[in-house]
C-alpha cells in the first residue's frame, strides 16, 4: 500500500507554506478530463537524444533477415541498430523515424523522450492504470 501523499502524487506543505492554487486548478481540470496535455491523438514526440546516441550497434545478422523499414536484406558485416525491444534496423532507416517519434516501427514499444510534458503525461497515465488495479484489488478483497 502507498501512503496518502504518494497515492495522490503530492507532497505535504512545509511549515508556513500556502497551497498553490494554480496547481489545484490544474488537478481539478485534469480530473474532469480537461487534460492540459494533448497527446491523446498524436504520435509520441521524438526519441531522446541520449537514447538515440547510445543505441546498441550490431554487425552480425541472422541469415535472410531484412530491415523492416527499407525491406532490404542485411549484408554480412553491415552495421545496424538494435532497439531495446530487440528489433533491428539500418541506422539510416531508424534514425529519421526516431527523430519523428519515440516508438518502435514494428512493435510500437515506447522509448524515452526529451519532452518533459510528455514524460509527465506518461507517468500520470501509468499511475492512473496502477490506481485502477489497486481499486480493483481492494474491491475484490472486500466482496469475495
Amino acid at each position: 500500500m502507498t501512503d496518502y501523499f504518494e497515492e495522490f502524487n503530492i507532497t505535504p506543505l512545509a511549515q508556513g507554506e500556502t497551497p498553490n492554487h494554480m496547481l489545484h486548478l490544474a488537478r481539478l481540470l485534469r480530473d474532469f478530463g480537461m487534460s492540459p496535455y494533448e497527446f491523446n491523438d498524436e504520435l509520441p514526440p521524438p526519441a531522446s537524444k541520449a537514447f538515440v546516441d547510445n543505441l546498441e550497434e550490431i554487425t552480425s545478422h541472422e541469415p535472410e533477415s531484412s530491415c523492416p523499414i527499407c525491406l532490404k536484406q542485411f549484408s554480412a558485416g553491415e552495421i545496424a541498430k538494435k532497439l531495446d525491444c530487440k528489433h533491428i534496423f539500418h541506422s539510416t532507416c531508424i534514425l529519421p523515424w526516431l527523430e519523428k517519434t519515440s516508438t518502435c516501427p514494428l512493435c510500437r514499444h515506447e522509448f524515452k523522450t526529451d519532452n518533459a510534458d510528455y514524460e509527465a503525461y506518461k507517468t500520470h497515465k501509468k499511475r492512473e492504470k496502477e490506481r485502477e488495479g489497486e481499486i480493483e484489488n481492494l474491491h475484490n478483497s472486500m466482496f469475495s
Binding site: 527499407c70 525491406l71 532490404k72 529519421p96 519523428k100 516501427p105 510500437r108
Partner: protein, 199 residues
C-alpha cells in the same frame, strides 16, 4: 521522388505480387506511373458483410517521405460505410494518420482496409449520415450498403424495391446517383427524399 520511397515501393510491389492474398484475389496492386509514386489498389469485399462480392478500387499516392509518412489512400469506388465518405471516398483510419509506423506496407494497409470494411467504427465516423444510420437502423444500413455494392462495385445482390424508388426520381429528371444519395440518407422514404432534392 526520393530514392528510398521508390526503392521501397519496388520491393513491396514484388512482395504483394507473391502474397497469398493476391493468389486468393483478395487484394490487388497496380502501378499507375513509372516512378512508383501513384498506384491503384483493389480489395474484394469481405465475406459475410454487405460488401461481399464487390470489388473496390483505391487511389494510392506515395509521398516522397514514405515510409516515414503514410501513403494517401482513398476509395475511387463509391461505398456506403461509416468510416468512408460517401461523397469523396476519404477514409478515416488511424494507421493512415497518426498511428502510421514505418514498418507497415501497402499490403498491410490494404488488409487493414479490408478489416475496416468488416468492422466499422461508428464512434469515429468519416460520414456522419452513414454512421447515424449504422447505429440507429442497422438493417437499413446493411441493405443500403449492399445496394451500393451492387451498383458501384459489381456486387451480386439487386434490390428491386430500391431500384424502383430511384427510377421514380430519375423519371422526374433527377440524376440517379443524386437520387440514390437522397434515398439512402432518408432511409429510402421516397417522400422525404423527394422533398430534400426539390427544396
Amino acid at each position: 521522388m526520393a530514392n528510398i520511397a521508390a526503392q521501397r515501393i519496388k520491393r513491396e510491389f514484388k512482395e504483394v505480387i507473391k502474397s497469398e492474398e493476391v493468389a486468393k484475389c483478395a487484394i490487388k496492386l497496380e502501378l499507375i506511373d513509372d516512378n512508383y509514386s501513384e498506384l491503384k489498389g483493389e480489395i474484394a469485399g469481405p465475406p459475410d458483410t454487405p460488401y461481399e462480392g464487390g470489388n473496390f478500387v483505391l487511389e494510392i499516392k506515395v509521398p516522397e517521405t514514405y515510409p516515414f509518412n503514410p501513403p494517401k489512400v482513398k476509395f475511387l469506388t463509391k461505398i456506403w460505410h461509416p468510416n468512408i465518405s460517401s461523397v469523396t471516398g476519404a477514409i478515416c483510419l488511424d494507421i493512415l494518420k497518426d498511428q502510421w509506423a514505418a514498418a507497415m506496407t501497402l499490403r498491410t494497409v490494404l488488409l487493414s482496409l479490408q478489416a475496416l470494411m468488416a468492422a466499422a467504427e461508428p464512434d469515429d465516423p468519416q460520414d456522419a449520415v452513414v454512421a447515424k444510420q449504422y447505429k440507429e437502423n442497422p438493417e437499413m444500413f446493411n441493405s443500403t450498403a449492399r445496394h451500393w455494392t451492387n451498383v458501384y462495385a459489381g456486387g451480386p445482390n439487386k434490390n428491386p424495391d430500391f431500384d424502383q424508388k430511384i427510377q421514380r426520381l430519375t423519371d422526374m429528371g433527377v440524376m440517379s446517383h443524386d437520387a440514390r444519395v437522397a434515398l439512402s440518407t432518408y432511409n429510402w422514404e421516397l417522400e422525404r427524399a423527394t422533398e430534400a432534392i426539390f427544396t
